[in-house]
Structures are given as C-alpha cells and as structure tokens.
C-alpha cells in the first residue's frame, strides 16, 4: 500500500498550480466567466501547448505522458483549487476513458487530437426524465448507409457552448431502461441537425439543451454493448469529480481559517470563538476523509467492476455530503462577506454545491451501493 505521489506527479501538480496562479487568478476567472462568451480559448490552448497536460493520462504512443487515474486526480484537484471551468473532465477523463477502451486506430487518432488541444468534449447524456439513471437513454441512433444519425433531446449539457464535439449516449436497440443497446457517439458541435439552447450555470460555466434531428454521429466502439465501457468511464469521471471537490474544499477551508483569524469582532478575532473553531475542525476532518475516499475511488478504478463501483459510489456519497457541509460552513463563517459575489468563497461554495449532484447525489450512490453485495 502506498499513497505517496511520484516525483513526476508532484511536478505535474506544481506546474499546474503555478500555471493557474499565473493565468487563472480569481479576478481573471471572473472577468472571463462574465464575458459574453463565458470562456477564453487561450486557457485550453495553454494547457495543451504550454503545459502539455492534456496528455497526462494517455499512453506515450498516442502522444501522452503515460499516466493514468492518479494523474487525472492531480489535474482535477488543481482544477478544483483554481475553480477552472475548462472541460478536462469531459474531454480527457470521460472522453479519454471511452476512447482508451475502444482502442482502435480511429480512437488513437481522437486521443491525439485531445492531447494536441484540438478538441473539447461535452457529455450529452442526461435526458429530462432520467434523473440519475445512467441506463435511461431514449435518444435514438439509426444506422444509415454512410454512418449513424441521432434523434432526441439531451438537456443540461455542461460545457456544450464551448465544446467542439458532444459525447452523446444513444440507443441502438432495446427499451428505455435496457442495459443493452446503449452506445456512445461523437457529434461535431456544428453538425447539421444539432440545435443548441444555451444558458449559464450557477457555478460560472455554461450549458445547453441539445436537440438532435438526424444529426450525423460517429460511433465509439460497439453499437449494442457500449454500456459497460460507459459505466466504467463515468466511474472514472466521478473519481475525477471527487478530486475536483477536494481541491474546492481545501480552498474553502483555507480561506475560512484565514478569514476568521483576521476578522475581529467584540475586540477579538472571530476565530477565538470555540464554536467556530470546532466547526472548522469538522470541516478539516471532512476534507481529510474526502481525500482518503478520493484515493480509494481512484485506485479502485482498475479493479473488477463491482469493487470499482462500490468504491466510487462510497466516495461520491462521502464527498457529496462533505461538499455541502464544508461549503455551507465556509459561507456561514464568512458571515455577510460569504454572501457576496465579490469574494471567492461564494463561488467555491456554488461549485461545491453543484458537485453534490453531478453524476448522482449522495442518496443515489447510497442506493447503488446497497444494490451491490456488501462483500463484493
């Protein structure tokens, strides 16, 4: 057993941390997310060209650094710490995970484009009545002589307005909830038959509802048996999301400790209040344990499916609850200042809140855990 990072991983973390400190300060980030477009393409280019970090999790033969889940963890934690909205999770982790599993010349071609920063993905999966059920897919994929076309509606697609391509789940066969018959496709964001309704998300990103009307799509891997790969890749994304949450929570805790030490009331720093001290200790204990659960989930990704799912769901249950507690406590301890748009703390709180439900709430994952045998 070993939970230490390799020197290369530490280097990766340091590089990213310094890069974001230099290029992605909170004020720059705010200016960017409030702009008309809501994002700046330069960051993504920089991640590819200046840092070369987009290949962190891919094999060297496709231009990557040869890393894996732990490298994703490192990147996602820094993304959380700097409140970065760029779609590393959707592109490199989720999309990359599907492409790695496909493992064909065409897949390697796509991976090369990811590593080079040419493509950005958004995950078009959620359908209005699905809630968190990954198997609920009604969008139809139809095979035509020259490829596939999709018809259906996906909503709340995070990052869709910035994406070059959408990763779309669609049904090739079977009924609405069947495990069999779900495949994942890539659709160019500017494809004919794709209509996007854009809007902002409360945590500073943009999203959209996407309607497909005979939109041309490229099938990733198998048409009818894509669900296992999807489930595994989504679990990898959940582990990445937990790492992002860890970055967000570390910052919430650090800011709160700092603020309460500086802020004086009744002639003493408010950190002198024992009740506030214990609240911060409770935040600290949740953060530390969230770190442990994120390691557990990340290192379990390569284990057999039931073990992987159990570890990932347990981590999501813990992290979702921790994100709520830490976020709420940070705002409460900042008092009125925590309520303002001006301080970073409220934005980290909002991101923490959205992470709670992304890819399934605590209750959803508790139920998934219950559906798996306790000793699997």
């Amino acid at each position: 057993m070993d939970f230490s990072f390799t020197p290369e991983q530490e280097m990766l973390r340091d590089s990213l941390a310094r890069y974001f400190a230099d290029r992605y300060s909170f004020s720059r980030r705010q200016a960017m997310v409030r702009s008309e477009q809501g994002w700046a393409a330069g960051t993504w280019r920089g991640l590819a060209d200046e840092l070369g970090v987009l290949g962190a999790g891919f094999d060297p033969d496709v231009g990557g650094l040869g890393g894996g889940a732990v490298e994703h963890l490192v990147v996602m934690e820094e993304i959380g710490r700097a409140l970065v909205i760029e779609p590393y999770l959707e592109t490199a982790v989720l999309g990359g995970g599907l492409l790695r599993r496909w493992n064909s010349p065409r897949a390697r071609e796509w991976i090369g484009r990811i590593v080079d920063g040419e493509v950005r993905f958004a995950f078009a999966h959620l359908e209005p009545p699905a809630r968190y059920d990954l198997q609920h897919v009604t969008t139809r994929a139809t095979r035509q002589s020259d490829g596939w076309v999709l018809d259906g509606l996906k909503d709340a697609v995070r990052g869709a307005p910035f994406a070059t391509h959408l990763l779309v789940t669609a049904r090739t066969t079977g009924a609405d909830h069947d495990r069999r018959g779900i495949a994942t496709f890539l659709v160019a964001a500017d494809a004919a038959g794709l209509a996007l309704r854009r809007y902002a998300t409360v945590d500073g990103s943009r999203a959209g509802d996407v309607r497909f009307t005979g939109a041309r799509a490229e099938l990733l891997a198998s048409a009818d048996d894509g669900f296992d790969a999807l489930e595994a890749a989504v679990d990898e994304a959940i582990a990445g999301l937990c790492a992002e949450a860890v970055g967000v929570m570390r910052r919430l805790l650090a800011d709160t400790v700092e603020y309460t030490k500086q802020r004086r009331q009744f002639d003493a720093p408010i950190a002198a209040n024992q009740v506030l001290q214990h609240r911060m200790v409770d935040m600290y204990m949740r953060v530390e344990q969230a770190v442990s659960m994120t390691y557990l989930a990340t290192l379990s990704l390569s284990r057999p499916p039931a073990q992987r799912m159990r570890a990932v769901s347990a981590a999501k249950v813990f992290v979702a609850d921790a994100a709520r507690f830490v976020g709420q406590a940070a705002v409460q301890l900042h008092g009125g200042m925590g309520m303002t748009d001006e301080l970073a703390v409220s934005h980290y709180f909002k991101r923490a809140t959205m992470i709670e439900s992304q890819f399934g709430s605590a209750d959803h994952h508790a139920h998934r855990l219950e559906s798996l045998a306790p000793d699997a």
């Binding site: 959620l126 209005p128 009545p129 699905a130 809630r131 968190y132 059920d133 609920h136 509606l153 909503d155 709340a156 995070r158 909830h177 309704r197 854009r198 809007y199 902002a200 998300t201 409360v202 945590d203 990103s205 999203a207 509802d209 802020r263 004086r264 009331q265 009744f266 408010i270 209040n273 009740v275 506030l276 709520r324 709420q328 705002v331 409460q332 008092g335 009125g336 925590g338 309520m339 303002t340 748009d341 001006e342 409220s346 934005h347 709180f349 909002k350 809140t353 959205m354 709670e356 439900s357 992304q358 709430s361 209750d363 508790a366 139920h367």
Partner: protein, 415 residues
C-alpha cells in the same frame, strides 16, 4: 419530618372551563376569513402576474400592495391605535401573517412599519411623529436601515460612522453596509457616533437622513445568487438637520435596542415554510427515476417527514408564545429560538428542493434566456439553486444563529 398528605390537597373535582385547548374561537376564525377575503379581493393583479411569470418585483409593486393594505387600515397592526394600529390580539396578528404567507404575497417591507416607525412613536417629538408616521402608514415613503458597517458584523456597537454637530446640522461621514433594498429608499435611519470619547454603546445618536441629500451614495452589493438586494451606503459630509435626530443626542443605542426587540412576530416564518413544504411535495411528485416519483422514494420521504415534524414543533412553540403573549406575558429572548429554528428549517427545505431537482439545479436560466425563448426541460428547477444560495443569508443576517445561541445561553440558561 414527614409531611402529612391528605386527599384534600387536591381539588375534589376539576372544572371543565378554561381548559387548555387547541381550537380558535369562532370570532377568531371569522377574522381569518375576513383577512382571506380581503387579500383575495385586493391583492394587485399586476403584482401577482409578475410573480407568476417570475419577473423581478419592483419598488412600485411592493408599494402598490402596501397602499392597498393601508387603505383597509391594516398596514401597521402592531402600532398603538392612535398612530394607526389595529388593536388586534396576538392571534389576529398571527392570522394576518399566516394568511399573507398562504396567499404568497410579496412582503410588506418592514423598515418603516416594523423598525423606524415604532422608534419614532416611542422616542420622537410630536413634530417628528406628525411629519414621518403618516407616510409610513400609507406606504408612500420607502425607508432603509443604516446600522451595519463593514468590519462590524454582529458587533453593532463598534460603529465608526461619525456625526459632528455644526450649528443646527450634523455633518455625517461613514460607511454602512448590508442595507437591504436601500436602492429603493427615500429615507434612511442611521446610527452614528456623536461622542467619540464615550464607551462603545454610549455616544451614539439615531438620525433620519433623506437619501437624496448631497453626499449620500448607494452602491449595490451583488450577492452570490446574482441578485441586487443589499447595498453599501456611503455618507460623505452629509448635512442632517438636528431636528431629524430621534431622542436625545448620544441616546441612539436606546433606540437601537428597542428596535431590535421589536416585531419578532412571524420571525419563525412557519407559514412561509408550510407553503414551501407543500411546493416541495409537489415538486417531488413531478420528478421520477425509473418511473417512480421521488415523493415515493422512502429516503426522500423520511427527510420530508422529519421537516414536517420539526415544522409542527416550531409552529406550536410559536403558538405557545403567542398564547402567553395573549395572556399578557411579553415574549422575551426565547424568540431567538424561533429565529434559529425557523431559519434552520427554511434552509433544510431549500436543501431538499435542491436534491429534488438534481443536476438541473445547475441551470441559471431566467437570467440568461432571451425573453420568450420558452422553458427548459424542468421548469421547476429554475431558481431552486439561487433560492438555496440566497437563503443562506437567513442564518447570518439579523444576528447570526451563533450569536442567537450566545444570547440564549446567557439569557435563558444563565450561562
């Protein structure tokens, strides 16, 4: 020494009159019907429409409703009758609050009616009463509060704003913050330090300031939900006539304390939370996974039931205090409990609404959709997250829940 107990220590029989009971009197129930009819008949239709369409509520919307209520003579129920009060019993006041909540009206903004008004009729001169009270009752002047200062938080008495006497004026300099709806205000009531040598609470005066005075600047504070509700107010050499000071110079803290003790009724927001719970049930009934509505998910239901029970406990605790008040016992600091529990429940309701809408909570649609662009896939999700974010304020503003617990520890438990 053994006491000798005799049967005669107990009454021979118990009278059946004046027994504890839950029911309201017929007279009280008739009053409730009257209130309900009044609201149904007089609530401005254009305000209702804006609410239903999810449009922002404007100054004129609040005032339209206030003025309708004023015409009925009910805008300041808790005031002494001579200044426009209704002489209602605590139960009647409770029904009034409850019916307003059940009808989901916009609130009657209380800076005039609930805060500065009572200070003026308690401490003001005859001239001041005649000048300011009628407009407050009628809802023609909007008041705001200038209490908190940056860096002061719940430590109100540490204020830095200075008022220096120059002839028949004070010259006021300082900065106030968290001034709710200050951008609508015609007048404001401010605490300013008039004796910088005096101990903390001493040396403060209570001043009424015309918000159009030169040197008054109101700057928006945008809150985390993107809303403009609170403001900073900058005072730069603002000249305030001495006749706009309420009570003696340096006696402002007396006014401030009286004001903080006022208008606690309805602070638990039980009726508003009941409405929110009913909406939450509706919301959960409309959300399903694998065909099963969330309202039938046992885990979610158990959380709803927990809130329902706690809401009942809060409601009957408030009613007990109300009954005690009716019997002549002025409520004490126990009302801090209503504030703490009331806000905790509101926040739990917000959390469950957030859980109900799931990933759709991320969408901030209203602000970013072009008008008429239609609704998103889950219209109910709109605003759920922003409401959740906004309502985090309830455990912070008005004396944080931590401060309320400090107060209870000291005043109720003697710790």
């Amino acid at each position: 020494m053994t006491v000798h107990w005799r049967r005669t220590r107990l009454p021979d029989r118990v009278t059946r009159e004046n027994q504890m009971q839950l029911d309201f009197t017929d007279h009280e129930l008739e009053f409730r019907d009257e209130v309900r009819r009044f609201i149904a008949g007089h609530y401005p239709p254009e305000v209702r429409e804006r609410q239903q369409r999810g449009l922002e509520i404007r100054k004129q919307d609040y005032l339209a409703w206030h003025q309708a209520v004023a015409r009925r003579g009910w805008s300041v129920p808790a005031w002494p009758i001579e200044y426009g009060g209704t002489g209602w019993t605590p139960t009647q006041r409770y029904f009034w609050d409850e019916e307003l909540a059940l009808a989901d009206t916009v609130p009657i903004i209380s800076f005039g009616t609930g805060l500065v008004g009572p200070v003026i009729y308690t401490f003001g001169t005859a001239e001041q009463k005649a000048r300011f009270l009628p407009d407050i009752v009628a809802g023609t002047v909007w008041w705001c509060q200038g209490y908190s200062e940056p860096g002061a938080g719940s430590d109100l008495a540490s204020l830095q704003t200075r008022a220096v006497r120059e002839g028949d004026h004070y010259v006021v300099n300082g900065q106030k913050t968290w001034t709710t709806l200050g951008h609508f205000a015609d007048w404001g009531f401010f605490l300013a330090r008039t004796d910088p040598q005096a101990r903390k609470q001493s040396g403060i005066s209570f001043l009424l300031i015309d918000m159009r005075s030169p040197g008054v600047t109101v700057r928006p504070i945008i809150t985390l939900d993107g809303a403009h509700e609170v403001n900073e107010v900058w005072l730069e050499n603002v000249r305030v006539p001495v006749e706009n000071r309420i009570h003696e110079e340096n006696q402002g803290w007396t006014c401030a304390k009286a004001l903080l003790a006022h208008e606690r009724s309805g602070i638990a927001m039980v009726s508003r939370s009941k409405v929110a719970l009913a909406r939450l049930r509706e919301l959960a009934a409309g959300v399903a996974e694998r065909g099963r509505p969330l309202s039938e998910d046992p885990t979610f239901r158990r959380k709803l039931t927990g809130i329902e029970v706690d809401l009942l406990a809060l409601e009957y605790t408030e009613l007990r205090m109300l009954a005690a008040e009716t019997a002549g016992n002025v409520p004490g600091v126990e009302v801090s409990m209503l504030k703490v529990r009331g806000t905790e429940l509101q926040q739990r309701l917000n959390e469950l609404a957030l859980e109900a809408v799931g990933s759709h909570a991320a969408l901030r649609v209203r602000a970013t959709l072009a008008p008429g662009a239609g609704t998103v896939a889950m219209p109910a999700a709109v605003d759920v997250a922003d409401t959740y974010f906004n309502m985090r304020k309830t455990s912070i503003f008005g004396g944080s829940n931590e401060i309320q617990r400090n107060i209870l520890a000291k005043a109720v438990l003697g710790l």
